[in-house]
Amino acid sequence: MNVRVYGALIRDTFQEAMARWLFWGLFALSSLLVLIFLFVLRIDLVQGAISVTGVSGSARPVYNIQHFVNVSYSWVSTTLYIWGTFVAVFASSGLIPSVLEPGRIALLLSKPLSRTTLLLGRYAGNILVVLLNHVYLIGSIWIIIGIKTGIWDPRFLLSIPVALFAFAVLLCVVVLIGVMYESAALSTMAAIALMLISTILAQRSFVVRLLDSEWSRDLWQTLYWIVPKIFDLGNALRQIILFEKDADLMTPILTSAAFGLIIMLRAIYVFRRKDF
């Protein structure tokens, strides 16, 4: 029964995303990026690089090409991670407040489904819309790079779950703000601000040295651990692709997941108590 209800809510979110041109907008922007990568990553450049390293010496040609591709992959994956998360937040911020419009929410709440189901169904629909876009965007670029270099490194595809996870955490904030204030603009602002704050807080090793008081250093560290680690997730992704040994994906995932869970539970609590 719940599967049917969730299916209907997810399908409705897709239909709304398509009708509002959000779905197509996301895909148009992704297609634009795919075309840019097609244009920038010229096959003759790669072939040229291979031929140059092949001629220059027999000791390290394969390693150099592999390293060249790794660096390219890490750069491209980080760019896609930031781009995909930004665009996804912008595209989906209106999908929660729209369902709370008077005259629409009253009818939805009259159906035999809990408010939690309604909110989570909508959330899942948003996630699936963005998942499709990420698979299309990152998958296409992986295929382009693979065809052009002949190197098919599956680590590049790690960008898909990492970017989707970062979006899922930010979407919890969008949901909470949307439920509390029913404003798409405020939801977007909050999520984007959180991305920027995460980037600033992540520079703690540098900033902590500049802070002159103990309490300010403690405050910085506390905030760092509270706020979702959107920057650290991207950084860990880059390090994994570069085979760096100190890459740590689990810490930002676990702390960010805890943040997202608490925010989502708060959103459910507010939604369940609200009068419409």
């Binding site: 409705d12 709304e16 398509m18 005259g103 009253a106 009259s110 159906k111």
Partner: protein, 315 residues
């Protein structure tokens, strides 16, 4: 004998509190109501009387601050209690990106109908509300009346046992109103309880058996319409009534309507009719005629909503 109630509320109350210790607003106060299974029940009240808040509390869109509500004996706050309920809200906003078929499919799925049943029922219900051939058209192209009909189909598609309709004929032309009324009459014939929230007194009077009148969030009057309008009232036709006197009559809750010979004033009792006659003559007006007549629901409504008093129950 009625042994079960489709809808029952006990001491239902909703107080809205302004933030930061602001004043309280009692939207609904100590409202106890019973809607028998299979009844055609009308809820009346002036704007702001608490009708929509009451309906929203029953459907859990608004949380009561006191009292309880049950639907077929189940706590209305539980989602399962709403399974046998069909609802058409006032000022609905259906998703305009859906077609008529898509909308019925979506709300049908939320109501628990499986895919095969939805496919079978959607054309049937579109046909029932006179929207045959419109299923594939996006609902943003529908007129107000068509949206009401589609909303009715949405409320009916899961074959509810209790139908709650908030201004169902709003924006519908007279022919459409008659068709909607016919659909509702067929449903009540098959045992469905209809709860009608409407400001159209004639609609409530012609369709419902029971009525409750709310005044400032409280139950002011409840009973069978046939009992409420029973008895004899009086119609007084008078001319040359000064404006000040007309205003005074309105403030007293006297129903006044234009008449070929001047104005027609309605009184519920003999005493009241005599008082009206005295007042007309004192104001310099002329009595043209007077005769006994039935009291309309409008008379009952105006009298109830303009006069202070305790809740009254008529058997």
């Amino acid at each position: 004998m009625i042994t079960e109630y489709a809808l029952e509320t006990k001491g239902l109350e909703k107080i809205y509190r302004a933030r930061f210790g602001g004043r309280e607003i009692k939207a609904v106060s100590d409202l106890s109501l019973r809607v028998p299974v299979g009844a055609k029940f009308g809820l009346l009240g002036a704007n702001g009387a608490g009708k929509t808040t009451f309906v929203k509390m029953v459907l859990s869109a608004v949380h009561p601050t006191g009292g309880s509500a049950t639907i077929f004996g189940k706590d209305a706050a539980h989602p399962e209690a709403r399974r046998p309920v069909g609802y058409l809200p006032e000022n609905h906003r259906f998703p305009t990106y859906l077609s008529g078929t898509g909308m019925l499919d979506f709300y049908g799925a939320l109501s628990g109908i499986d895919s095969a049943d939805r496919k079978k029922r959607i054309p049937e219900y579109l046909d029932m509300v006179g929207l045959n051939g419109w299923g594939d058209v996006r609902i943003k192209k529908y007129s107000k009346g068509m949206l009401q009909r589609l909303g009715l189909a949405q409320a009916l598609i899961h074959k509810p046992r209790l139908l709650i309709l908030d201004e169902p004929t709003d924006g519908v032309d007279p022919v459409g109103r008659r068709e909607i009324r016919d659909v509702l009459n067929r449903l009540t014939g098959s045992g469905v309880t209809v709860f009608l929230n409407s400001h159209l007194l004639a609609e409530v009077e012609s369709f419902c058996e029971y009525v409750a009148i709310l005044k400032k969030g409280q139950l002011a009057l409840e009973g069978k319409i046939s009992s409420l309008v029973a008895g004899t009232g009086y119609s007084i036709v008078a001319s040359n009534i000064p404006d000040a006197a007309k205003e005074a009559f309105k403030q007293r809750g006297v129903t006044i309507s234009p008449h070929d010979s001047g104005l027609e004033l309605r009184a519920a009792t003999r005493e009241e009719s005599n008082q009206i006659i005295d007042s007309i003559r004192a104001a310099g007006g002329f009595i043209e005629s007077m005769h006994a007549s039935n009291i309309s629901l409008e008379d009952v409504f105006i009298k109830t909503t303009t006069n202070a008093g305790q809740a009254e129950k008529v058997a």
